[in-house]
């Protein structure tokens, strides 16, 4: 392998990526990732659209950019296949991606990032950076189209995943971790939409979201968003009143100026 001559094998980051490349060498049913032939710090990946969602049947390909301080700094994920959930060619905002490096843990890996991505796809976009809010129908159409999508480097990607039902052995611990990762970004997104002085609500939101995750039916998943919309409405109300007040004041000022002006005019 040409990579082994190119990099300083003594560097812990390089050792780590070599280890991950070995670990991920075999495609699973859900994901496959490999470093580019000439660059250990850029990988390409394919994930299968999660079953029983609007992404079912889709194959999504993308790039993983590893920072030079990996694994101390998180990887960046860029999707290349149009999918209706994330913008393509843009670093996307999972709470474990580069936009939130403070929540990344060095003991996570590229595999963790991919599992989190899969788990995160069906969650609401909620205004996070790089998120798209396409309808389920539009996403289903894109999922069908994705089967014929080709990467300039890897070629046709629908065939890269293992077709046998070889599970990726997600441990229970890992599953709960992945859900927590996905949740984090949702929380962050919610917090950004609220006004800054709503801190006391965040604990409550926390609990609500944890409850939501336990019963993942379509209805309950929508609940946090409705809450957010209500929050924004509440915080918008006072500012609308302000605006009306401002307009009234300006109208009065304008009328007074007009009257004075007319008076001068009449005097002359």
């Amino acid at each position: 392998m040409s990579l082994e001559n190119k990099y300083n094998l003594k560097s812990p980051g390089v050792k780590r990526l070599m280890r991950e490349a070995r670990e991920l060498a075999e495609p699973t049913e859900e994901y496959f990732a490999h470093p580019l032939e000439d660059n250990l710090f850029e990988w390409h990946f394919t994930v299968r659209g999660p079953p029983s969602t609007e992404f079912e049947g889709g194959f999504y390909h993308g790039r993983i950019l590893l920072p030079s301080q990996y694994p101390m700094q998180p990887p960046n994920i860029i999707l290349l296949t149009p999918n209706g959930r994330f913008e393509v060619n843009k670093k996307i905002c999972l709470s474990i991606s580069g936009h939130h490096p403070e929540s990344w843990q060095p003991s996570w890996s590229i595999r963790t990032a991919l599992l989190a991505l899969i788990a995160f796809m069906p969650t609401p976009a909620a205004g996070t950076i790089g998120s798209l809010d396409y309808t389920p129908e539009e996403r289903q159409i894109l999922a069908k189209k994705s089967i014929n999508w080709e990467c300039q480097i890897c070629g046709k990607i629908a065939e890269t995943l293992s077709s046998q039902s070889k599970s990726s052995n997600i441990t229970q611990e890992e599953a709960s971790l992945i859900q927590q990762i996905a949740l984090k970004a949702e929380e962050d997104a919610n917090r950004k939409e609220k006004s800054a002085d709503k801190k006391e609500d965040s604990d409550e939101t926390n609990v609500r979201q944890r409850v939501t995750i336990n019963t993942p039916s379509a209805e309950t998943i929508n609940e946090p968003i409705t809450d957010v919309i209500m929050e924004t409405e509440v915080s918008i109300n006072p500012s609308t009143v302000d605006q009306v007040f401002n307009v009234v004041v300006w109208v009065i000022v304008f009328v007074i100026v007009l009257l004075i002006g007319r008076r001068f005019f009449l005097l002359e």
Partner: protein, 265 residues
């Protein structure tokens, strides 16, 4: 495809503002990082005076500190300073006591399996464990104590090795907290579980250490530490606290709000 109107971010200015502040913060942190070595050279306690010219409260306390300690070794203030200072100072002392070093080495060798059992991903834990053991082995194999200390200093200033030491120590601390969660849960504020706390405050790099981190780290490594507190408080002397209480501390650290350095008697 790129239909811009579909982008659901409703408050772009707010988001950009946050991003901007974060980016700025990171830039400042980076600049600090680059100017201070991960673990510095030994300096006399009096070198602290220049940081507090005209500050009577601190100057008084430095005088008190210098009656107890002769030297200080500064560490990089990047949020990892407790873990870095504690492990560096611990190993440095152990190199003087071959028997204790060997016992420490043996205990470290056995530490990985417990972490895997707690549910940490085996191959990433192994990644950090391997480097951790490599550092212990490289310094332990040198018969000349001065050579060993020089190697320790060199490795702790190689970002790759140094950060890996910190990560593994963070994992051991997290493991200790989760193993004894009945005991530690009462120290955690709010409704977070011990596991939540570990994922958010212990395992990520650059997260600062509190009492609870120190207690758990000392239990995990079975190595006591005395922390000497120096702040703006009214008393004229510095205050000390041993972890665990009543131990004969191997390591001495100076705490100033937000930061730990190493002290030498």
């Amino acid at each position: 495809m790129g239909d811009e109107s579909k982008n659901s971010s409703e408050e772009p200015s707010q988001v950009n503002q946050d991003e901007l502040i974060l980016a700025q913060q990171r830039q400042i942190e980076k600049e600090i990082s680059e100017s201070i070595p991960l673990v510095g050279e030994m300096e006399p306690i009096s070198s602290l005076n220049s940081e507090y010219a005209n500050d009577e409260v601190y100057l008084e306390k430095i005088k008190d500190l210098s009656s107890k300690y002769k030297h200080i070794r500064r560490t990089r203030p990047d949020g990892n300073c407790f873990f870095r200072a504690y492990s560096y100072a611990g190993l440095e002392r152990l190199l003087d006591k071959k028997d204790e070093f060997n016992a420490f080495y043996k205990q470290a060798e056995e530490s990985k399996d417990a972490l895997v059992q707690l549910g940490f991903q085996q191959f990433t834990v192994e990644d950090f464990y391997d480097i951790y053991m490599e550092v212990l082995k490289r310094v332990g194999d040198l018969t000349d104590v001065d050579d060993a200390k020089k190697t320790l200093h060199f490795l702790f200033n190689e970002q790759g090795y140094s950060d890996y030491m910190v990560v593994y120590l963070r994992l051991l601390t997290s493991g200790q907290l989760q193993k004894d969660q009945d005991f530690y849960s009462c120290f955690i504020e709010g409704d977070r579980t011990v596991a939540d706390f570990c994922h958010q405050e212990v395992e990520p790099m650059y997260k600062e250490s509190d009492h609870i981190h120190i207690i758990a780290a000392c239990a995990a490594l079975n190595m006591g530490v005395r922390v000497v507190y120096m702040d703006r408080g009214n008393n004229k002397s510095v205050t000390e606290h041993d972890f665990p209480e009543g131990c004969t501390p191997l390591v001495h650290l100076l705490y100033r709000p937000g930061h730990y350095d190493i002290l030498y008697p």
